[in-house]
Subunit: 621 residues, 2 copies
């Protein structure tokens, strides 16, 4: 067992693929963590905007939550149908590109990729944010801890889906049970007390209203609350990860996730209104999260409270994993169409799309580093991508129904059209409300990514056009190359190269850069060492070419000679034979010059079709 | 003019070498900065140890300084003779290895290298220390500023000696003029006032004596004061940098440097005693350096005071440059004897030994990073190397006189023997007094370096033994290799590789790793694409070898096949022909797999004498 096996797990054979597939029990933690954990910040985000309304604001959370749940239901219906229509895994990208065309597809692809990277970054930074507010001494190491968690997540995901599900199973279910338990107890207490329950721990006093209600404020609160919807598209991208029958298990998983999320959102909204709990100002003294107030009011600050708070923190920081589960599958789908590097389509040693995991890890690490691992700076970039993808996906489903037709198509078109309009409006509101705070970055980023992806596609097209062939091999005009051998001194290494060269062609030149003593010795002995034996054996006699180098450069004059020689012999092929002393110990590499490496690199970038490079190695015993 | 020309200067031809040589005017800043700037911390270091003696301590600075000046005179005599005996540049390393043998030579070499790296690190950190104590806001960036200055010094030194001298000319001479001016004025005032001058700005009151005088304390004060002697060996290493007649100009330069240093040391000692100036406790409130007190007492805190203080700071931080002037020449001398990599003997584009400059920069950067750029942590490591080198150098000169004999040899032997004993005792004192504070690091480091250098020598010996030859080329047993071509699909790239292979040998195998569709297509079309045309053209028919890969690895099965094939055909040579798609744009490299690079790397480390690798490139148009 080597190191790679230990760290990444032993390689899995391609035929083991089926065994790696999952059911709903593991599907919920893997694909649902992002969506479910949204319940922890969505309602709070809406309530924060309602603070200026005081007591009246708390009442508005009910209609806002109802609207979000209705929107969620519409989006759910859409993705439910998408899963069935695209059992090979079809998120917004597939739906948009198949039904709306290449460019809308790329728009969805870029939006989703941005969104996944942000999901990973926000999830990690939110978790670490909670940790450092509990242990302030760690504050200065925020970024380092973020990157450490990122590394652990990357490793877990490189090991594959089965392990991933296992690692996240317990925290997710603890979180769900705590939330649902609190809601059931709270609702029961509220009904038993005739709608006026007495909080176990009283929430902070509501602030006085400082502003009147207005449509723009409510719209912004609704838009902020919509962050509760991020992550619901995950299942539709990952249908392939489920066991047979894939689409049924995927749909079941989606239904449970959305159902639980709806119950959470409605339960929180109902209890917040009943217990009169408002958001407190984030960052100000006395700040307490809405969920913390709610748990304390319903059950007091006992073991249940602390279990719940810890599970929320854990789930928030693990929600980043949804991005790891989904980004590689999405980028594979895009790469299969030629818009991203082919490498993203290959399964790694553990059957996961390892390059996608690496890509996500690098991009997330970059984002965390640029923004210092601070959630508040990342949030304004978030949700734009998600709602762009929702809108395109549902617009795509409208086109799908129009094309497919049949029973119920009209009803479905209406539902998806409504959803597209609703999410489209939300997207516009989010963009406008958050533009100057950072959403503009997304607006710049997404078109650049689309440009990049179309360039990749064009490049692959060019390569295919230039290299593809279906004609038999051309057996005409085979001719021996002219052989050039750079040599610094006469040694067994150069002797071996010369012997190899005699097998290649009839015209051989030995290139030597003048450098004092060694040059003299080479010239003096040339006849004895090479010319005479060659003549006697009736082999082609190599020509010794001396190159001047006033500036003591060695590689440059050789490369210049080779390129010049190639120009003057435009009908010939040239084989550069490099006698190379090989070191098996890396630290011995420091002791020798790396001219043959430099020569190879320069010839790589400046060379042409007619120059081949031949390494003739000589290993030290 | 390209970027390298702009940053490093245009390349200088080998024949321009003479023009780069210098005289005393530039020799003093280049080789004397380290020695001269020692006057700024040597007396202070001695006085600091004398603080507990109060008023009585200040008086002891006079005999201590006299002893140091006498020691300096002895060392000067020794190096003066060394310069004449070794006009090609012979510092302690050359003298010790030629007169005492290989191992003492290596001991001197290791000591000097450690000392130069410390000179560079201490010089930079002392300068930056002065800067950050003037501008405390920069404190947190200490290391970054240190590394920045290191980068600038590296660049200046890569441009060559002429520019180096120019950059350091003015600060050095301003420093010398200020020091000598202050001493002349001070001595004049002292004599005019009958030995009791009135200070312009009174120095802080002397502290009460807290301890009685003892031999050990005076010995330690002497040892600390001896740091004033670091850097005097620089000229003898750099004789080659002077213009003809080199040894005369070098000796003149050394004489001026030592003379000025002696005047400074004696002047400071005399004035300190006359003005009753003691050291203050470093790091405590009210700390003021001895030189600052002295300048203020003699001339007041006017323009002259501030000019002098700034010139001291600049010269301290620039003294690092002595290491840059000398380390490359020392490492060249060691490398010429085969104890360090050959690359250190080569002149770069500007005729300096560029690799030595890089090596010093890397080691200094490492040291600064490990010690956080803090001078106090570096100081205890310092001076051990210098005194080890002094001792070995003078012991070597004793052996030299004994061997050479002639007139005056007896007197010289006595002088050098006395010097060797004096510096040897100082070395022992420094080692014991500073052992636990950090000198132990030097004690560990120097033997490891000696071991490393002897390993390098041994390695070069092995290589020479295995590769050197003076016999004519063997023209017997030339045989065509078996050609192996890894191919993923049939394309113009693989076609070109196959055509090249037909020129190489009669037995050709095409290696293909099974991967679904492409394998099927290749097998189905093999006869039409390759076999039939080869048969018709009467060329060797390539054999298609399919390699299984259950774990989807591509490179591994190919390498395993090649190594296995080599084992089974122990009498044949093998040529691996790699069809390679070449990208001229680096960012396109992301879009293609790098299997041929991986294959080359693995074959490099696992291959054998009988495997040659041939790149057949195919460039995109």
């Amino acid at each position: 067992m080597n190191l790679a096996d230990l760290v990444l797990g032993r390689p899995l054979a391609t035929e083991d693929e089926k065994a790696e597939r999952i059911g709903p029990t593991k599907g919920i933690p893997i694909f649902g963590l992002d969506a479910l954990s949204s319940a922890a910040y969505g309602p709070e985000a809406a309530l924060t905007l309602l603070i200026p309304l005081g007591m009246a604001g708390v009442a508005y959370i009910w209609p806002i939550s109802i609207s979000i749940v209705v929107l969620l239901a519409i989006v759910y219906m859409s993705y439910r149908q998408t899963i069935e229509a695209y059992p090979q895994g079809g998120g917004s990208y597939t739906v948009a590109s198949e039904n709306l065309g290449v460019w809308p597809g790329l728009l969805a692809a870029a939006s989703l990729m941005v969104d996944y990277v942000l999901t990973a970054a926000v999830g990690i930074s939110a978790g670490v944010g909670a940790l450092v507010s509990a242990v302030p001494a760690l504050q200065q190491h925020t970024l380092a801890i973020c990157l450490g968690i990122l590394a652990v997540l990357t490793l877990i995901n490189l090991r594959g889906a089965r392990e991933t599900g296992g690692a996240f199973l317990i925290p997710t279910y603890v979180f769900i049970l705590c939330m649902l338990g609190m809601i059931i107890v709270g609702v029961f207490k509220a009904i038993a007390s005739g709608g006026h329950p007495v909080p176990v721990v009283a929430p902070p006093k509501l602030m006085q209203a400082t502003a009147g209600v207005g449509a723009w404020l409510l719209l912004r609160a609704f838009a902020s609350g919509c962050t509760a919807m991020t992550g619901v598209e995950a299942v539709s991208n990952g249908v392939m990860a489920f066991k047979e029958p894939t689409f049924k298990y995927a749909r079941l998983t989606l239904t449970i996730i959305i159902g639980v999320l709806m119950v959470m959102l409605l339960g929180i909204a109902y209890l917040v209104r009943t217990y009169n709990i408002a958001a407190t100002v984030p960052g100000a003294t006395g700040y307490q999260s809405v969920l913390s107030q709610l748990f304390a009011a319903v059950s007091g600050k006992g073991a249940f409270y602390w279990t719940s708070i810890v599970s929320i923190l854990v789930v928030l920081s693990l929600s980043a994993n949804t991005a790891f589960a989904d980004f590689p599958r999405l980028s594979r789908a895009i790469a299969l169409n030629g818009f991203l590097p082919h490498a993203l389509t290959l399964r790694g040693r553990r059957l996961v799309f390892a390059e996608g995991v690496y890509a996500l890890a690098i991009l997330t690490g970059l984002l965390l580093t640029i923004f210092g691992g601070v959630t508040d700076r990342l949030i304004p970039l978030y949700a734009v991508g998600a709602f762009m993808a929702f809108t395109l996906s549902q617009a795509g489903m409208v086109a799908h129904w129009k094309r497919v037709g049949g029973r119920g198509a009209r009803r479905n078109m209406f539902l998806n059209g409504l959803g597209a309009i609703a999410t489209g409006i939300t997207l516009a509101v989010v963009l406008i409300a958050k533009f100057t705070e950072g959403a503009w970055i997304t607006v710049v980023l997404i078109p650049s990514m689309i440009f990049m992806m179309s360039s990749v596609k064009r490049h692959y097209g060019t390569v295919a056009k230039q290299t593809d062939t279906n004609t038999p091999v051309n057996t005409q005009d085979l001719c021996a190359p002219i052989v050039l051998i750079p040599v610094d001194r006469w040694s067994v290494v150069s002797e071996k190269a010369l012997r190899f060269a005699w097998g290649l062609g009839a015209q051989i030149q030995i290139l030597h850069v003048e450098c004092g003593e060694e040059t003299e010795s080479l010239c003096r002995n040339w006849a004895r060492l090479v010319e005479t034996p060659a003549k006697e054996a009736k082999l082609p006699i190599p020509e010794l070419v001396l190159l001047k180098s006033p500036f003591r450069f060695v590689v440059k004059p050789i490369v210049e000679y080779i390129l010049n020689f190639e120009n003057e012999n435009s009908d010939k092929h040239i084989a550069v034979v490099l006698p190379e002393l090989m070191e098996r110990q890396w630290y011995h590499l420091l002791l020798h010059n790396h001219r043959s490496s430099a020569l190879k690199t320069l010839l790589y970038f400046q060379g042409s079709q007619r120059i081949s490079v031949i390494n003739v190695p000589w290993y030290l015993g």
